[in-house]
Symmetry: C2
Subunit: 127 residues, 2 copies
Amino acid sequence: MIVRQTSQVEGTRADARGDGWRSLRMLTRADGMGFTITHTTVEAGFRAELQYRNHLEACLCLEGALEIQNLDTGERHVVRTGTVYALDRHDKHTVSALERTTLVCVFAPALVGEETHDESGGYPAAE
Amino acid sequence: MIVRQTSQVEGTRADARGDGWRSLRMLTRADGMGFTITHTTVEAGFRAELQYRNHLEACLCLEGALEIQNLDTGERHVVRTGTVYALDRHDKHTVSALERTTLVCVFAPALVGEETHDESGGYPAAE
């Protein structure tokens, strides 16, 4: 059994940050679960174009509001508390934070832990 | 892209309930993600002996307090807001809710959606 608190992840390599976002990877590849759970915060005004070619990702919004646009289909959705969105086709998408937003995100396969987005808007394969 | 709100799951087969617990399976096997994300509530006083032989499960506590005991090792942990616990060895365990508690739980492989605990305290394999 693994038991871990956000305070144990803060300040480690699994506390990944960029301009307007922070993602605590609460479980990483080393934990052997096959998936990562993050606690992620994005600040109001954050905007990114993302595509996770090497991972499936789904997020549950805990608080706040995001607009998600699927760049393949053009569809837009506002994600608020209690909304899940899942990129089941490795969808190329934009995330625009309408407010400060907190999310729990799941990545499969698991992240190594320290990933930040590369030039394609995704994370490298763990190999 | 899948976008789904808790209100769309409430009252469906993926709104699983038992005595003192309720689990909204926000993603199920039919979604093809390979994992399930739930939004789960357990009431104060809930207690269950569980073992997921067919799944790996990890939960992030959003609010409240649980005591988790690993029945193989005897170790006990209090899980509060911001704590993840992961049953990386299919650990046989008890969950005792010290308060009303909300969790986001991830199961891999995904749940069909309508599972409730069987006599072993787990969920059947999808097949």
